[in-house]
C-alpha cells in the first residue's frame, strides 16, 4: 500500500532542479512516483513504506544539495 507525502523544497531555483529531484524516482527503490514543481517549490512523492522510509527520501534529497521540509 503506497503513501503520499509532500516536501517543500525552498531552494529549488530552475526547471533543472525539477528534473534532478524527479530522477530520485528511478534511483530510490520503493519510490513509486515523484512530481516536483519549481513554481510551487514542492515535490509530491508516492512511495511504498515497506521499501523506503520518508527519512531515506529526505536524506537523498539533501544529498542533491537541497533542504527539504516536511509539510
Amino acid at each position: 500500500m503506497s503513501e503520499k507525502v509532500t516536501l517543500a523544497i525552498p531552494d529549488m531555483h530552475c526547471a533543472n532542479c525539477v528534473m534532478r529531484l524527479e530522477s530520485l524516482e528511478d534511483d530510490l527503490p520503493g519510490v513509486v512516483s515523484i512530481t516536483a514543481s519549481y513554481r510551487s517549490q514542492k515535490m509530491e512523492i508516492e512511495y511504498d513504506p515497506a521499501g523506503v522510509t520518508i527519512d531515506q527520501i529526505m536524506a537523498a534529497v539533501s544529498r542533491l544539495g537541497y533542504h527539504p521540509e516536511r509539510r
Binding site: D11, C14, A15, N16, M19, T35, S37, R39, G65
Partner: protein, 356 residues
Amino acid sequence: MELLVAFVTGLTTGGLSCLAVQGGLLASSLARQVEQDVAGRAARGKRKSQARRDEKTRLAQPILLFLLAKLVAYTILGGLLGALGSVLQLNAVTRAVLLIAIGIFMIGNALRMLNVHPFFRIFAFEPPAFIRRYIRHSAKNDAWTTPLLLGAMTVLIPCGVTQAMMAVALAAGSPLAGAATLFAFTLGTSPVFFAIAYATLSLGARLERYFMRFVAVIVLVLGLVSIENGLNLMGSPVSASRLAQSLFQANRPALAGQVTGPLAPGGPAHRLVLEAHNDGYYPAILYAVAGAPVELAVTTNETYACSRSFVIPSLGVEKILPATGEELIDIPAQPKGTVMRFACSMGMYTGEIIFN
C-alpha cells in the same frame, strides 16, 4: 550582422544559460554513459596508449552527435518559427510590440533567476511531467542513438536566452532568416557545451546558482535593450537613445543634415540625403522645411547591417535598401514642429527629421 549577434549571444550567455538548464542533467548522464562504455572496453583489455586514444574519441563522439542533433533540431525550429512569423506578416508596429513583449519576458526571467520575488516564477517554462519523464528515461537508455535523441530533445527544455532567441526567429519573418538565427545561436552555444561535457563536469547546485546570477544580469540587460528597440521601432520619443539624441541635438545643432533644393514652403519637393552606414544613420538628425514635400534619398555604400532595413513608423514606410545605392522616399508636406522618427527594422539604429 544579426547572425553575428545571435552567434556571440550563444557563445557567451546562451552557452552558460543552456548549460544551467539542459547541461546539468543531459551532459552528466551522457558523460556517465560514456564513462561506463570506456571502462567496459578498457576492461576487455587493450594496450594502455591505444585505450587512452580510444577513450578520447569515445568521449568526444557522443557529445558531438548530441550537439549536431541539437543544432539540426533548433535550425528546424527556427525555420518553423520564421515561417509562422511570415504568415503573421509582422509589420513594424507588431514587431515593436513583440520586441517589447520579449523584453518584458526577459526581464521577468532575469528577476526570477535573481530570486527577487516568488511572483517572477510565472516566467519559468516547465515542460509537462510526461515529457520530463520521457527525457529522463531516454537519458538512461544505452542505445547508440541516445546522444542524437537527447540533443534533439533539448528543444523541449529551452533556457531563458534560447526562448528569447526563438522569439527573435519568430520576428525575423521568414523561414530562412528564422532558421539562420537559431542556427547561428545554437552553433554559438556549442563550444561551451562541448567543453563542459567533455570535461565530464556536471554543474552542482551551488555552481549552477553562481552561473544563474551571471546569466540573469546579462538577460536583464538584453531585456532592456529589447524594450528600447521596440520603443524605437514604434517611433516612441521616450526611448533611451531618443532621449540621448535630444540632448545631443540641444548641444550640437551643427551636426544636423543639410537641406538642398528650394527652401520655400509650398514649393516643389526638396531633397534630403541620409546615409545608412553599417553602424547607424548619418546625420541622425535632419532638418526639413515645414509645409513642403520632401524627397528623402537614403544612400548606402556596402551596407550590410540592419540599417539597410529602413522604417519610418509614422508613414508606414518599410524599405529594404540596396547594399550599395540609393532609395528615394517621398514624404508629404508636414506641419511645423513635426518630428518624424525613423529606425532600422530591429529598432537598433535611430534618427529623426525635424520640420520647421
